[in-house]
């Protein structure tokens, strides 16, 4: 099981009357590629943050890769995230003052796995993602948006996570870059047998996924 949420509730602050999320039961099997769609402000990002362990849920069991996040300390969750979960966002996926190689290298320092072959792996990933060698040492702020998003995939995959969480990663891309991005992403995920949870409002992407979920189906909101 990649993700299993049971009785998960979340509300910001002490406003427990207005649950942003209230999930009875939701699960994702290993190897699934799930597209979650829904209107903005519905709590998609919050759901991802709970699954990545960045936000502790107010109530309920959060199990990711058969580990109970809700029973971990904040420190354990940080370590778990570094080791097992890759993330790609809509924007700001890279530290702007570091180059592509250093961004990937930095990500690898947070995982507890060995660092022996990380450099080769980073090179292989950048090659696979069609980033020109001449761009590797450039400050990432000098790269195009399409290049930045592809480097972000390399950064997210460097620690060989079992789960990849993507939050509208294609929203800032034009259609050509978007298709290119998705094709490369799916290829790499397929090779690595990874689970993908992908949030987007763009239903046109549905063909790439094994499962389509509306956020409103996952969460039953009381209002």
């Amino acid at each position: 099981m990649a993700v299993q949420l049971t009785g998960v509730q979340f509300s910001y602050g002490n406003d427990s009357q207005r649950q942003l999320l209230d999930i009875g039961q939701w699960r994702v099997e290993r190897g699934e590629r799930v597209l979650i769609h829904g209107p903005s402000g519905a709590g998609k990002t919050t759901l991802l943050n709970i699954m990545s362990g960045l936000l502790p849920c107010t109530r309920g069991d959060v199990s990711v890769l058969d580990q109970r996040l809700d029973q971990m300390s904040a420190k354990q969750r940080d370590q778990f995230r570094a080791n097992n979960i890759g993330c790609v966002f809509q924007r700001f996926n890279l530290i702007p003052y570091l180059n592509a190689v250093d961004n990937i290298g930095l990500a690898s320092t947070f995982s507890s796995g060995g660092n022996a072959h990380r450099r080769d792996e980073a090179s292989a990933l950048l090659d696979a993602l069609m980033i020109e060698q001449s761009d590797w040492a450039k400050p990432t702020s000098n790269l195009s948006m399409g290049q930045q998003q592809r480097v972000a995939i390399a950064r997210a995959l460097i620690n060989s996570p079992a789960l990849l969480i993507a939050d509208e990663p294609t929203s800032s891309l034009d259609s050509e870059n978007r298709d290119n991005f998705l094709a490369l992403l799916m290829e790499l995920i397929g090779k690595r047998d990874m689970t993908l949870i992908f949030v987007s409002h763009d239903m046109a992407l549905a063909e790439h996924f094994t499962r389509l979920e509306a956020l409103s189906d996952i969460t039953q909101r009381p209002w």
Partner: protein, 411 residues
């Protein structure tokens, strides 16, 4: 990697980083510079006299004796008879003696009557002997040797004739103007009161006083001065002693203090000098306080700049957290940036101070007699730099905590 991230992060904010770095460098420059000057001032003060074992004068306070015999400040309470001087100077324990006779002046500079022994035995600093920048020691009765500052201020050189006045003011009414002295030598700068003194032979002083009251004008010329008549003055003001063995210092001191002929006292110059310096510790502390405040301002400025930067780094914080960085990692990142600024500031401030000392060291020495050496990293300075590092960490705690809470309460 951690270090690289901190460095690159600072580089990405070059403008504010450079300004902060400069503020810290200036503060370090001031801190180390003041410490250096303070220490050197103390050292050169403490070595105004060296190699002299005892200073003897009429019974008075030890600071008073030190002030008038060494610093030419204040006035002696009484004179010492020539017999008493001879008796002590000739005793077995004494290796050499320098008699000093005060009371005359020239253009506000004090005149000291002494003997050849002064140039042979008086030393200052780390056992540095007096040296001549021009001319040589006095030979004749009306020869004069000038301290460097006297020569510089009055524009005198070898061959200049000078008229001495009784008393201290340059407008003194009693001028011994029938007895001109001739400058035969100028001493190299020492950074001690010697620079501000005119040295003549004891006989010169006696002859001048005798000539001023009795002898007709022109009775003595430089060449024909009858030195024999004045070789034994009636009294002198004080004298300095060098002993054959330093072991006997306290013994000789006690003997002099109990001298039966007249009330005398002997002091150890080193002890008296450090007593005098103690009185000036207030001044030292003010200097230190000023440099500490300059530093505090710089460090607080750095804290403010870093704090302002946290607001712009929200997305960076979020990204690092998603990569698995803990809030503590981000806390350390900001502290690290502060440390880098501080260490670079120390380096920059230290190097520029070193360069400054190297360039102006000689000028300072000849002008103020302050002997600045380039050993910056004294144990005290190292301790100070350690304190600076701690102050930096403390000042950076505010932005670091802000970073920590931003990282923890991410949403």
């Amino acid at each position: 990697m951690f270090l690289k991230v901190a460095v690159k992060s600072l580089l990405s904010r070059k403008g504010s980083a450079v300004m902060t770095l400069m503020a810290i460098s200036v503060a370090i420059f001031v801190l180390l510079g003041i410490e250096q000057i303070r220490q050197q001032a103390r050292d050169s003060f403490a070595s105004t006299v060296s190699g002299v074992d005892l200073i003897v004068g009429a019974k008075t306070g030890s600071l008073n004796l030190l002030l008038y015999s060494v610093f030419r400040i204040g006035s002696p309470t009484d004179n010492i008879s020539w017999q008493a001087y001879r008796e002590i100077a000739d005793s077995d324990d004494v290796a050499w003696a320098i008699p000093i006779s005060l009371g005359d002046s020239h253009e506000g500079y004090r005149v000291v009557g002494t003997t050849q022994a002064f140039f042979e035995h008086f030393s200052f600093g780390k056992k540095r002997r007096l040296t001549f920048s021009k001319g040589e020691a006095f030979e004749g009765t009306f020869d004069a040797v000038l301290g460097s500052e006297v020569a510089l201020a009055l524009g005198y050189s070898v061959g200049t004739e000078i008229i001495l006045a009784h008393g201290l003011a340059s407008t003194s009414f009693t001028k011994h103007d029938n007895q001109p002295f001739v400058v035969v030598g100028v001493l190299a700068p020492t950074g001690t009161p010697v620079d501000q003194t005119i040295h003549v032979r004891l006989e010169g002083i006696e002859a001048m006083h005798a000539g001023g009251s009795a002898a007709p004008i022109g009775a003595f010329t430089h060449a024909s001065a009858p030195t024999a008549d004045f070789s034994e003055p009636e009294s002198i003001t004080a004298f300095m002693l060098g002993l054959k063995s330093r072991m006997s210092t306290f013994n000789v001191q006690r003997q002099i203090n109990q001298f039966s002929g007249e009330p005398l006292m002997a002091i150890l110059p080193g002890v008296a000098l450090s007593e005098l310096w103690q009185m000036m510790s207030m001044f030292e502390n003010v200097l230190r306080l000023i440099s500490a405040l300059v530093l505090l301002a710089a460090v607080l400025g750095m804290g403010a700049v870093l704090l302002a930067s946290i607001r712009e780094r929200r997305q960076e914080i979020h990204l690092l957290r998603m990569m698995g960085a803990s809030p503590f990692y981000l806390f350390c990142l900001v502290e690290m940036e502060a440390m880098i600024l501080c260490l670079l500031g120390m380096l920059l401030g230290g190097v520029s101070l070193y360069a400054a000392l190297f360039m102006i060291g000689d000028a300072v020495f000849s002008r103020f007699g302050l002997y600045l050496d380039a050993t910056l990293l004294t144990p005290e300075a190292a301790l100070m730099l350690g304190a600076v590092l701690l102050a930096t960490l403390a000042a950076a705690a505010a932005p670091s905590l802000k970073m920590y809470t931003s990282a923890r309460d991410i949403s």
